[in-house]
Symmetry: C2
Subunit: 297 residues, 2 copies
């Protein structure tokens, strides 16, 4: 009697990971969350976290990797896959699975979002990254890092708000707005506070200013509106670049996600807006889809 | 018989320092260069470097601090003076001078530039800082740090050029220009090279890209010209903010210095251009002027 197939989907990002367990009918048997999995932070440790999280999810489903009645197949979407030596090292590690397919977390997210069909995704969180899968053709637009890229993102919005605050404080910007007053207040109206903070801020820290911007949009704060409009313009450019690079310049459906996307969506241009569809599944399902796409089971 | 007065001027910056020795007739008796003097890097060490450099400059003039025939008066313009505890600690240190006046390097530079008269300075180097002295009133515009400020500077120009390179590479920017090709070439036409470099670049590193931009202005490269125009616009805003904050909004003479200023000057607006005068002296002379302004000798 042949063994039963169990499918495991892993979404491993720099802040947390998630694992789901499915049977061959696609039914969800168990799921759990685990620690960060980023190949750039170390392959051995990534494997350790992944295996521990998988074991937890299997336990939730009443399963164990030692159970010989099952073949366990795993699809993993892990951050840091684009670093070839790390990818190779991870793949070469001995493991208990019948099949292992490793893709990037962006790939898994995009594939899951469109339920395995061709399509694009724009993630607008702390950073911005546009991604598209069209058969074997992968496109990445933006997502190259901060402050030199990731325009329109949470980090970028925060940086722009801080820039304007400095210009307002020293008289380069003549208009004012409650948003700038709020930021100034946040630093106790103390120049050395805001200077010291800014000089040591990274993308995550700049992104902490963004909720003030988003909150002020509802209050029709002119500076907050100008900022969100400039973000939307950058995201429109990501969308347009993806279409331009698609075979026959065909506009594929596009999903938006990430913490800032919801706020930016109403400000986007019609070209991108009309392509937007809602996300079908998350990256763990995408990781299983990537597995099934590559390996016939 | 009264002792002869000797005046010492110190310009201490984060990369190097300079000392000049003058007699009471304002004749230059000696000068020398020394190591970096930045109060933020430590008061004890700053004093050590300053004293060693002063001794060298005095030796060049055939003088010694132990010579009882002279009173030695020193004016120092040191970077990091705005940190009050460091300023106090420096001032409280025992020293061999008859008089000591400590001001910031920006103050000394601005005072020297206008030979002690009221006036403004805009320094456009790796960073950008606008500074004005009008009697006892000091104004600073920009110079708050990077990437959140210092618009128009060398670091900022480099960052903007890298931003455009990424947009060009992934299709957000449709036009091209030799400048972008040159930057791409600099990184061996390798995405992971430019991504890795950018992710670890600080203001000094971004400023290393700027010579390519400045070189391409002469070749009428459209992107280089657009970049230098946007820099000039930021510098115009610094100039305008200074005037706006000057008593009675009077436009005082303004000097420009720093490695990038020469390239930006032709692109500035008429408002600022007509105020520009050439620099009379450097910050070491400015430091002696600051001394004489505060202490009657």
């Amino acid at each position: 009697m042949s063994r039963e197939n169990i499918f495991i989907g892993v979404d491993g990002g720099a802040t947390k990971s998630k694992v789901i367990i499915e049977n061959s009918q696609g039914q969800l048997l168990g799921q759990t969350r685990g620690g960060p999995v980023a190949l750039r932070l170390g392959v051995t440790n990534s494997w350790k976290v992944v295996l521990a999280t998988i074991r937890m999810a299997l336990a939730e489903a009443g399963l164990s990797l030692d159970d010989k009645r099952y073949d366990f197949h795993v699809g993993m979407g892990l951050s840091g896959c684009e670093i070839t030596p790390k990818y190779n090292e991870f793949i070469a590690t001995e493991h208990p699975f019948a099949n292992l397919v490793l893709v990037s977390d962006s790939y898994a997210a995009c594939l899951g979002a469109h339920d395995g069909a061709d399509g694009a995704s724009i993630i607008i969180g702390t950073g911005t990254v546009g991604y598209q899968i069209q058969g074997d053709k992968i496109i990445q637009v933006s997502g190259w890092g901060f402050p030199h890229d990731d325009q329109g993102s949470g980090a970028w919005l925060g940086l722009k708000a801080i820039e304007l605050t400095f210009k307002w404080l020293d008289g380069r910007l003549q208009e004012t707005s409650p948003l700038l007053e709020m930021i100034w207040e946040r630093f106790g109206k103390d120049t050395s506070e805001i200077v010291t903070w800014s000089n040591s801020a990274n993308s995550t820290r700049f992104a902490e200013i963004t909720p003030l911007v988003l909150q002020q949009i509802e209050n029709k704060d002119p500076i907050a509106i100008r900022l969100i409009q400039s973000s939307a313009k950058e995201i429109d450019a990501v969308g347009a670049a993806i279409v331009r690079r698609t075979d026959e310049q065909k506009a594929l459906p596009c999903t938006l996600f990430g913490g800032v996307s919801h706020f930016i969506e109403p400000w986007l241009g019609e070209e991108l807006k009309k392509r937007i569809v809602s996300r079908k599944h998350d990256a763990t399902v995408g990781a299983i889809l990537a597995l099934k796409k590559r390996i016939k089971i």
